[in-house]
């Protein structure tokens, strides 16, 4: 009887292995695969992905053509939900989800992003810049300057804005002012140009592409950058050669390290390592995730891609692999339940 059962079990195991998609051979030869992004055509995410996509195809098994499709809306949440609910788990569609980890950390997102099959991530950083006539030459002047500096920002619920508000609040509630509502980083730039605000931020890629122009024009200069966390969790610069906000905080306001404000700031900072999260739909065989992970890691170091970045003076990004991404994501999901952090985020976002 035992022999019969073990034989039957063996047959069942063999059949299940045969039909299991987990061992499906990953080969995209002759196919077109897509990277689905959660922001619109022309957005920073779109530009970055379109520059990067052709190089990814070279490293995927079978060298498929890679196309980019935008599913914008709901500040990145609609594309994320589409990826989760509507995309087939066949490994043919990679989700490139920008800032969704930070959104998960600071607000509600319609799906559980930890349930995606993780592929890996790219970090993202932002540069804080000021008008030259503001009297701010370096980040340290934010503490010593006598007049109030007005900073322009996008929506108050944007994780980047929350982070910068926490930083400014650490100087005292009335020391500096933040005005939110500008449409994107270019809306903020327009406000800086007109003198409506003195300080704003933009992502490091955009900053590097414009930095020489800004220098020649003499209107604004960068004073600090967000930086991004490395695999060990330490905040490191993103290559724009400015002090990080975290380092500035530590240097200027050492007494406030350990405050709930700093804890919330550091928590949001941690999400920057996963600023561009790459995922496959839930239930996708893991071999596809491994193939995409390997291809993305190789493409990001491709000499052709790096030359393209150099042409725009853009910093060279680093790739966070699938295992580290999954680990970091789970840490962030767990930390979200910290009552002190939750309360501070609620307060800073204006949620009643």
């Amino acid at each position: 009887m035992f022999r019969f059962l073990s034989g039957l079990g063996g047959i069942l195991l063999a059949v299940s292995l045969l039909v299991s998609p987990a061992i499906a051979e990953v080969n995209f030869a002759g196919k077109t695969v897509r990277i689905l992004i959660n922001f619109g055509v022309g957005s920073s995410t779109d530009v970055m992905t379109r520059q990067f996509a052709p190089f990814v195809g070279q490293y995927l098994p079978g060298n498929p053509t890679v196309i980019v499709e935008a599913k914008p809306g709901g500040r990145g949440t609609l594309g994320t939900a589409y990826m989760y609910k509507n995309v087939k788990p066949d490994g043919m569609t990679l989700g490139g989800l920008t800032i969704i980890v930070a959104r998960m950390a600071t607000a509600k997102v319609p799906v559980d992003i930890t349930k995606f099959v993780q592929v890996g991530a790219r970090g993202g950083a932002a540069v804080v810049y000021v008008r030259k006539d503001s009297g701010i030459k370096t980040a340290s002047d934010l503490k010593s300057v006598s007049q109030k500096v007005i900073m322009g920002a996008t929506t108050p619920r944007s994780p980047s804005v929350m982070q910068i508000r926490l930083f400014l609040n650490a100087f005292g509630q009335d020391k500096h002012k933040l005005i939110a509502g500008y449409k994107g980083q270019l809306g903020m730039l327009k406000a800086v140009r007109s003198g409506e605000v003195q300080m704003a931020f933009m992502n490091n890629g955009q900053w590097m592409a414009r930095r020489d122009g800004f220098t020649k024009e003499g209107l604004v200069h960068g004073i600090m950058e967000s930086g991004q966390n490395d695999a060990s969790g330490k905040v490191v610069g993103s290559g724009v050669k400015l002090p990080t906000v975290d380092a500035t905080w530590r240097k200027l306001l050492p007494d406030t390290i350990g405050s709930d404000g700093y804890k919330a700031f550091s928590f949001i900072q941690q999400t920057r390592a996963l600023n561009y999260l790459y995922v496959l739909p839930p239930k996708t065989p893991v071999d596809y995730a491994k193939a995409w992970d390997k291809a993305m890691a190789s493409a990001i170091k491709d000499p052709g891609y790096l030359a393209l970045l150099d042409k725009n003076s853009a910093p060279h990004p680093a790739w966070t692999n699938r295992d580290t991404t999954t680990k970091t994501l789970m840490q962030i999901a767990a930390k979200k339940n910290d009552p002190a952090i939750t309360a501070m985020i609620k307060k800073i976002s204006g949620k009643k």
Binding site: G42, V47, T155, R157, E196
Partner: protein
């Protein structure tokens, strides 16, 4: 800047290189299609064509995309005039006089006038661009929150006061549009409002199903009920050349509206809708006899078309000079800069000035070429106005439903199309103007965003401390006072003719 004449010529010559010209022509033909089909637009066209531009050098990629973008506002007039449905949001004002002209059998005249107005408007913009390039930057930098808010108010009030027979009704409908614009994320708090936890509404009510429902459904129902054709009169002979002559006769109006459009294009965030309404408003207010506006006055077609065509070359300036896009499609164009390895900003006006002027020339050339193509096609297109209702109505309705769902491909689009179709039918027959609702929807977000920013940043002092704000306030006041004064004069004149005066009435 001393190299401007050389760059102007170099840009022009670049346009006539074989590959550039070929790609531009492909773009133009695609743009004509995107403008012609209600529901599609320059923005969606750019999204679809962008992948084909990647990998091309800048002198090919930009003419390809701009050729498409510039021509959508040429052909969006065709559905606006022939079936009363704006092909894109930038043809709303054109409907007001274009469609009544089609009903009178003057569709060819209206279309010809609009094509030529677009060509001349874009030429005006190119001249302003070249002549004033060195001095335009300070003007653009003068625009901040208060100016944006006031421009949105001006656009709303212009649309509200001009798009119907009653000022009160027009403004009420603009207010209704403002309320609709509040659905979705609040710009200054980031919290979603009135979305009923329905993800479809999280970004607000999309414009396309509303436009198509509100304009197409009432026309289709009326057509079916009448069992006749759109045009009640036979096509007037020589309509095409009459339209051309109309545009030349109104050249000064085109210059003025072209200037308005150019300035609106240069101010980031204002866009074509404000341009077309300011153009239309200017035509009404500056006309000696404005009694025929809204009933089929050709100037009501010429003015908004010149303004919207001029707005496109105007929008290039802030995009290349500051890296700040003048409108949505220019935001995509900005992405193309980075993809092809150009850096937007002041150096575009130094090292790559020829590419900047190539972009301007392409918008002008695209308008001319599209006009010639459309001019040739219109003899057949206007036959739509003479197709029996029972055949035309179901086809139009089918197209509109498909067009409505192109934006988000969600069932919500069909639902909105139906709801606003029903409302549009009621509004049309109750003589409540529908156009101000749309402008309220479009400008509502701009107005709300900058009202909050302005009050937070400047308190209330901005109302009397900023010269541009004061000029706009005067324009708003005039937009009320001038029509009211004209109405008073006309009524007084009519009473004198009928034998008694206003004074008699008072006594």
């Amino acid at each position: 800047m001393e190299d401007i004449p050389i760059a102007v010529l170099d840009g022009l010559l670049l346009m006539f290189t074989v590959k550039t010209f070929l790609f531009m022509m492909i773009g133009i033909v695609a743009g004509m299609f995107f403008g012609l089909v209600p529901g599609l637009s320059g923005l969606s066209g750019l999204g679809l064509l962008l992948p084909f531009a990647i990998g091309q050098p800048p002198e090919v990629a930009f003419p390809f995309l701009l050729g498409m973008f510039a021509t959508t506002t040429q052909t969006d007039t065709i559905p606006a005039v022939l079936i009363g449905v704006p092909g894109t949001a930038a043809a709303q004002a054109t409907v007001l006089d274009g469609y009544p002209m089609a009903k009178k059998g003057e569709a060819e005249r209206a279309l010809s006038a609009s094509y030529l107005a677009s060509i001349l408007g874009s030429i005006v913009a190119a001249i302003i661009f070249i002549a004033f390039l060195p001095v335009l930057r300070p003007l653009i930098d003068e625009f901040a929150g208060p100016e944006f808010f006031m421009m949105a108010m001006l656009g709303l009030i212009m649309a509200g006061s001009l798009a119907g027979t009653s000022l009160l009704r027009g403004l009420t409908m603009a207010g209704f549009g403002l309320i609709i614009s509040m659905v979705g994320f609040a710009p200054n708090t980031g919290f979603a409002r009135f979305d009923f936890d329905w993800t479809y509404l999280i970004d607000g009510i999309p414009l396309v199903p509303v436009v198509l429902g509100m304009f197409a459904v009432p026309e289709v129902i009326d057509l079916l009920v009448s069992r006749s054709t759109i045009a009640s009169q036979q096509s007037s002979s020589g309509g095409r050349m009459k339209g051309v002559a109309d545009a030349f006769q109104n050249w000064w109006l085109i210059v003025k509206c072209g200037t308005i459009g150019t300035v609106c294009g240069m101010i980031p965030g204002l866009g074509g809708l404000v341009a077309e309404w300011l153009g239309y408003g200017h035509a009404v207010q500056s006309a000696k006899d404005s009694s025929q506006f809204g009933k089929g006055d050709v100037r009501g077609v010429i003015a908004p078309e010149a303004a919207t065509a001029a707005q496109k070359p105007g929008g290039i300036l802030p995009t290349v000079a500051f890296g700040i896009p003048g409108n949505g499609p220019m935001a995509i164009m900005l992405g193309v800069f980075l993809i092809v390895g150009l850096r937007p900003g002041p150096e575009m006006l130094r090292e790559n000035l020829n590419i900047t002027f190539l972009m301007v020339w392409v918008t002008v050339a695209a308008n001319i070429i599209a006009a010639i193509l459309a001019f040739g096609l219109q003899r057949w297109l206007v036959k739509i106005c003479y197709i029996r209702a029972t055949i035309l109505a179901p086809i139009v309705l089918g197209f509109m439903i498909v067009g409505a769902t192109l934006a988000t491909r969600d069932f919500g689009d069909v639902l909105l199309f139906g709801i606003f179709g029903f409302l549009g039918y009621i509004f049309k027959h109750a003589d409540w103007p529908r156009v101000p609702i749309l402008i309220g929807m479009v400008l509502g977000n701009l107005a709300e965003t900058y009202l909050f920013i302005t009050v937070e940043r400047y308190g209330i002092e901005w109302l009397w401390q900023r010269p541009i704000v004061l000029i706009i306030v005067i324009m708003i006041v005039l937009s009320f006072v001038v029509p009211a004064y004209r109405l008073y004069r006309r009524k007084q004149g009519e009473k004198i003719l009928s034998g008694h005066t206003v004074k008699d009435d008072m006594e």
